[in-house]
């Protein structure tokens, strides 16, 4: 069964007809040619397909495209400006926050969404005082980024990159 939907992807309005079974991830990659979000586990466990949906980080593999008619989607590719990287992506480069790079677009989108959440003083599992403003120390960054796996194990530098980007 098919449905015609509109997605606003990285600032561009795109209309497409999808089978209802198409995930948002597959719509972005296979239908719209946006290969920035990656398919890792395809079960919501690895975070490599993370995008910003209406500004919030989600895994695009666990939601059907048809459920997001009219939505705004930002991928890591869409975070960049005309000729410069997004500050979070820049920090990943500066700190070697990757090795093979496959998880990186998901890591970057997740970090951007996470910084927004922390900026709004959303607590995390490791926040001692639920009512106090959030201080993004390394333990907070690690906990908040636990939904993004890096099989190369670049975590130390990912944390460093996000620490810098958070300043």
């Amino acid at each position: 069964m098919e449905a015609t939907i509109t997605l606003h992807v990285d600032g561009e309005k795109r209309e497409l007809t999808v089978d209802t079974r198409t995930t948002l991830l597959d719509a972005l990659r296979d239908r719209l040619g946006n290969t920035s979000p990656k398919k890792g586990c395809d079960h919501g466990q690895c975070g490599s397909c993370t995008v910003l949906l209406e500004g919030r980080r989600v895994v695009s593999c666990l939601t059907f495209a048809v459920a997001h008619d009219g939505a705004t989607v930002t991928t890591a590719a869409g975070l960049a400006g005309e000729d410069q990287l997004h500050p979070v992506a820049r920090a990943f480069v500066d700190h070697d926050g990757f090795q093979c790079g496959y998880c990186t677009p998901g890591q970057v989108c997740s970090a951007v969404g996470m910084l927004e959440e922390a900026g709004a003083d959303w607590p995390s599992h490791v926040t001692e005082d639920l009512r106090a403003p959030v201080t993004l120390d390394d333990a907070e960054i690690r906990e908040r980024m636990s939904g993004n796996l890096c099989r190369c194990g670049a975590y130390v530098n990912i944390v460093a990159a996000i620490r810098e980007a958070s300043r």
Binding site: M1, A3, D19, T20, R21, T23, D42, H43, G44, G47, T50, R56, R57, V58, V59, C61, L62, T63, F64, V66, A67, S110, G113, M114, E117, A120, D121, W122, P123, S124, H125, T127, L130, R131, R142, E143, R144, M145, S146, G147, N148
Partner: protein, 330 residues
């Protein structure tokens, strides 16, 4: 994945009528559990009725002091809500102990309550499972047992309920508001989830077509001093081996009031009435906490894979109550 029709009705009553009329229809909210199950072939709805937009996204204070949480409130928003952080910290902590930031942004309050077990045999179509396919047997009983239930299991199913949030709501005695084909009703937790018995395919007492519309939190001053403690195989982003949701009031060294629920031990969030009774009116000491936990676990049945859960549950409850009673005096 089997083809399915997708609709997004504007009114809850229309959604209920649509699902009630088709035995193979299902509601979808955040989709974080259902979409995965559709990929795995363990859920095969022919029609998805999207209720994310029609259900309430609000957390509101009712005139009588209760808090009403709309069924579509995302887990992350509920955890971060100032009212919840202040008056029901156990609920914030439970939500934050579950899943990942991305999943909490998508997962809804109603969907979290209805998420299904992570038993590896349930999630694998190649294996027998009475919950997925009644009558085929239970591969978990003789298999990998680390996550198996120790309380209230049956010869047909040893699965555990995976939700952290539901454990907190069970300790709080929250009410679940349901709209069904014959109207509205409320279910007091822990009455929503059931033990497996002879029908492990049923996780809850809900009937086909029933739609959770909201969760009401009681006015409960006790909950201002409450906590959720989760023990798992990784520091983050893993399901509970054992978890405890507790609220405690100690006056002059005596337990005046207490609420306890366990996660990871049973097919349903486990309200520890027996432990609560043992504790109430008694001394707020480590020894008393341990005795109460042991009383609750007295009927536990374990195998080689999950025997550790009994001492772990005792230790976890004792540690949670110790922390809460220490805060009290400081």
């Amino acid at each position: 994945m089997k083809p399915f029709a997708y609709t997004r009705p504007a009114e809850a009553a229309d959604a209920v009528a649509e699902v009630a009329a088709n035995p193979d229809a299902a509601y979808i909210g955040g989709g974080t559990n259902l979409v995965d199950h559709m990929k795995l072939g363990i859920a095969e709805p022919t029609s998805l009725v999207d209720v994310r937009d029609l259900l309430s996204h609000r957390v509101e204070k009712l005139p009588d002091g209760r808090i009403r949480v709309g069924a579509a409130v995302p887990n992350s928003d509920l955890a971060a809500h100032p009212e919840i952080r202040e008056h029901y910290p156990v609920l914030s902590q439970a939500l934050l102990a579950g899943a990942s930031g991305q999943l909490r942004n998508a997962a809804t309050t109603g969907g979290n309550l209805l998420q299904r077990t992570r038993c590896v045999y349930f999630q694998n179509r190649a294996m027998p499972c009475n919950k997925r396919e009644p009558g085929t047997g239970c591969a978990a009983i003789e298999g990998y047992g680390r996550y198996n239930a120790v309380l209230g299991a049956s010869e047909h199913c040893v699965a555990t309920h995976p939700s952290d949030m539901a454990v907190a709501l069970t300790a709080l005695g929250a009410q679940v508001r349901v709209l069904g084909p014959s109207g509205e009703r409320t279910i007091d937790l822990p009455g929503l989830h059931r033990l497996p018995g002879d029908t492990p395919q049923r996780d809850t007492i809900l009937e086909h077509g029933d739609l959770i519309t909201a969760v009401d939190l009681p006015r409960l001053p006790l909950a201002a001093r409450s906590a959720y403690r989760k023990v798992r195989d990784r520091a983050s982003y893993a399901f509970a081996l054992v978890s405890v949701a507790a609220a405690l009031r100690v006056v002059d060294g005596t337990v005046e009031d207490v609420r306890v629920a366990f996660g990871g031990l049973a097919h349903a969030p486990w309200r520890a009435h027996r432990a609560e009774e043992e504790l109430r009116g008694g001394p707020a000491t480590e020894e008393a906490f341990r005795d109460a936990a042991r009383a609750e676990l007295a009927d536990a049945e374990t195998g080689p894979g999950n025997a550790f859960k009994v001492p772990m549950a005792v230790n976890t409850l004792a540690a949670t109550l110790r922390d809460l009673s220490t805060e009290e005096t400081s």
